[in-house]
């Protein structure tokens, strides 16, 4: 998986969690919280949807790594690829 595919996977999740947000112009280097109305409940949902859809575990200590799309890609892409290699 590439970084861009990973960002797309995260955006797909956000689109389902927060269908009332406009995701067409999300800047990858800006904190999601600063450009979208996402609260701690929504971030918990991103984490849980990652587990449900992709089998990826994000421990609570790492939640901050999901702050922006860029940091999501940096943190999650290796996890996606490690899972893909295992299967």
């Amino acid at each position: 998986m590439t970084n861009d595919e990973c960002k797309k996977a995260v955006l797909d999740i956000i689109a389902d969690i927060a269908p009332d947000e406009n995701l067409s112009s999300v800047k990858p280097d800006v904190r999601l919280r600063d450009q979208l109305q996402l609260d701690s409940m929504d971030f918990l949902d991103i984490v849980m949807e990652l587990r449900k859809r992709h089998g990826i575990e994000v421990p609570e200590a790492d939640y901050l790594r999901l702050a922006s799309l860029d940091s999501c890609a940096e943190y999650l892409t290796p996890k996606f690829n490690a899972l893909a290699a295992k299967s």
């Binding site: 389902d16 969690i17 927060a18 269908p19 009332d20 109305q37 609260d39 409940m41 929504d42 918990l44 949902d45 849980m48 587990r51 449900k52 609570e60």
Partner: protein, 470 residues
Amino acid sequence: MNSGSQYDVAIIGAGLSGLAAGIRLAHFGKRVCIFERHNAVGGLNGFYSLGGRKYDVGLHAVTNFVPAGVKGTPLGKILRQLRIDREAFGLCPQKGSRVAFGPRGETALKFSNDFALLESEVAALFPRQADGFRAIARFVRESPLSGRGTPASAREFIRTLVGDPLLEDMLLCPLMFYGSAREEDMDLDQFAIMFRALYLEGFARPLEGVRTMMRVLLEKYREAGGERRMKCGVRSIIAREGRVAALVLDSGEEIVATHVLSSIGSAETEALLGAAPAGPPRLGFVETISVLDRPPSDLGWGADTIVFYNDSHRFSYRNPPGQVDVRSGIICFPNNFEYGAGRGLREGLFRVTCLANYDAWVSLPEPVYRRDKLRWFAAIQESALRFLPPLGTADALDRATVATDMFTPTTVLHYTGHVGGAIYGSPMKNPGGRTALSNLYLCGTDQGMLGIVGAMLSGISMANQHILRG
């Protein structure tokens, strides 16, 4: 052991909080079952059929209503958390409501889903209190949605900003009637939650009432794979080593679950563990319902959605010494929401709610109970009529009435199992939802969030906090 009866989570009660919690848990792969003693879902916000008509049990209006696009509100949160499309609930905004005080309601504050109306009404009627009122609104806006967590008196807080006891009572009256389990005062957190729900946000209703919302929730729950067992109450909880070991159903069957979420109330849950139901007295209500052959506006009653009234010098919100306190109450016209052109209820509905004393209703012999119901039905309506524009003729209401119904605290106890027939549960709330047992949590009325939206938010946040996060 029968593995068919082993769950990740057992939820006691299929009201709004239990269903909302169930949707979350099932969506994230938990094996969930909701156990409901009654044969219908909804709990305190259910609906029933009588004489070919469907009635909502509790719903006057959905509070916390905000239009599409307003973010960071309780309604927006539950829609997101339950993955429900806003349109599915079909919420239609109110036309307008008022608080009417004085023997004929001559002192009135109108309010609507636009907070500016209440602001201007307060400024016109209480010019010297306008700044204080705005400061209260600012405080509520800055309060976290789940409260600050420090117990305080709402009345004491209001008095630091508003010096007129009439305004204090008029602001508190709707908030207490729509959600306070405490007599004469509210906890400050509850006050802020209710002020936001009624005044800053507002009222709405689906055309078909609460059953539209129940249908959406049931469908979601089923799609997510949740199980539900109706006419299947929980008779007792078996505890071992500080945990729930098993639930015993009314049938005697034992259920094993890793977590248990109880929406039935704190004392009611403790009673399942063998404790005697105790605690301060609960507030009960009676409600009269008249079905009319025409919209209430055709009786000359205008377009009020809800009228909160009080005829006395001070507003008294306490367990009445007699069976019913007719000095104050709530009038609700479910017809008066903006359902859109050509859409509306087929019949008129006129509902009046007053405080009632459970003890004065509970042990009456059947004929006396029936007679008292009839007597109070007339007295409640007569009292409420003082706060509406006069009817053309004295018998106009009787002539327009095609059916009636009435509930008392006894009815509420019978159908929901809530101690004292209470609607708003115990005056002692438990915002954290924890109990003496490590895998048993509370959601719903006694957890502390209020109204239909609050009930759902309660189920969601308890499921998140104690089960999905853990």
